[in-house]
Amino acid sequence: MAGRRVVWAVALALVAAVAAAGCGGGGSSAATPDSLREKGKLVVATKFDQPLFGQRNPSTGAIEGFDVEIAKIIARKLFGNDITGKIEFVETPSKIRETAIENGRVDLVVATYTINDTRKEQVAFAGPYYVAGQDIMVRKDENDIKSVTDLNGRKVCSVQGSTSIDNVREQAPRADLSTSFDLYSLCAEALGDKRVDAVTTDNTILVGLIQQSGGAYKLVGKTFTTEPYGIGMKKDANDLRTFVNDTLEEAYANGEWKRAFESTVGKAGIPTPTPPPVDRY
């Protein structure tokens, strides 16, 4: 029976190790602008499936969008105008953004990343560089949903693990939020199948889905939250945060930010807003 006891001890040790890994922070020390220049490379977490913000171009393989342009502005400020080979994009779905920062896999997260207080406990945010708002997408023939309160009693889809679900729960407590997938495109599919009556998330994302639907869906057009998109980094990366904030303000002033917006999100018909003031909290 001694052999069996050893097996159990090993099993318990493994469980303990997993649990400890779950608790601990760790990873390497925070990057600074100088350490990044020394490394000669900026590693940026972004989405590869987010129309207008970070999406892989199927024909060229390049990642394109507003988030990508913002990351490139920062890279140019770091390394000068030629950033060929000096910026690397890593595909990062929403739920692993904090982990990617904490374990040092990426230097910055520019991935439609809403700044909020819970996240501020885990990571530091520069920006915001854009303020989106949550809106509602419905089928073209739907006329009864005109604002968020009309979602009470209706089936609403959003991506699992998104703040969008919590927002609807607060503002339309009787909405049925049991349907959620890991991709917005599957929510759009469920809307087409009439499994749900509405899809809700940031307006910027919905605009991309409506473009892809070929006119089957429409936007309600009444935002009910403000979603300030920030640039995430290690919590103690104070130098890098100041540097990114300075870079953003410079890009606001010299028109780079406006050009980045117009060449990406603006193409979907969203008018260029006034850039949001950076929050040096």
Binding site: V15, G22, C23, T99, Q160, S162, K194
Partner: protein
């Protein structure tokens, strides 16, 4: 760890759905497996072919693909099932293919004379299979049946893809609300162990109880 302790109710509700899904689909898969295994060893060629095609198609398709095809494909044919029912169907059919092969392996360990003798005393072919061959066949495949149970318990996590509110699906929302993915997922791992470790022990006990003594 406080993230896990503060949200024990979320984990419990998720675990409950995971357990329901596991037990129900295991029972259905077992029934499918017993019937199709009998098809696969039957002397009737169309039944054998049916069994072979089913196992070949289902066993060689990724479970995630089956989920998406069933859940988003069938509504296009006018058949819309709830997420839970869809998951139950897909998991049962998928696990049923593996169950078929496991039970067939057990049937192959039963000496041919057993079936001959059963037919000789006048049992029908269904009685021969159900009363003589299967009971002996199952005794020798308890360990792989236990493997299938544990694999199924973990496979239920893929139902989170189609919005079934089981452990993984609920943990996704917890990750957003707490921004602590590693702690939340470590809790998920422990929750699965709570289900799978005792079931391993149960199958071990069952194995010792029904072992063929030679």
């Amino acid at each position: 760890m406080s993230v896990v302790l503060d949200n024990l109710d979320v984990y419990l509700r998720g675990l409950l759905v995971t357990v329901e899904l596991t037990l129900l689909s295991y029972a259905i898969a077992f029934a499918i497996g017993a019937v199709v295994a009998a098809f696969r060893v039957s002397p009737v060629p169309p039944l054998r072919a049916l069994g072979t095609v089913y196992v070949g198609l289902v066993r060689n398709t990724p479970l995630a693909v089956l989920f998406i095809l069933f859940f988003f494909g069938f509504p296009k044919l006018g058949l819309t099932y709830s997420p839970f029912l869809s998951a139950l169907v897909v998991l049962s059919v998928y696990t049923g293919a593996f169950m078929t092969e496991t039970i067939r392996a057990g049937i192959n360990t039963v000496a041919g004379g057993q079936a001959d003798a059963a037919r000789a005393v006048g049992l029908t072919s269904v009685q021969t299979m159900g009363l003589v061959v299967l009971p002996q066949a199952l005794r020798s495949v308890v360990p792989p049946l236990g493997n299938l149970f544990i694999a199924l318990a973990k496979n239920t996590s893929i139902a989170s893809l189609i919005s079934v509110a089981e452990l993984v699906h609920r943990s996704d929302q917890l990750v957003t609300d707490t921004a602590q993915p590693l702690a939340v997922l470590a809790g998920v791992a422990v929750a699965y162990l709570i289900l799978t470790l005792p079931s391993g022990l149960l199958f071990g006990a069952l194995e010792r109880r029904v072992a063929v003594r030679r």
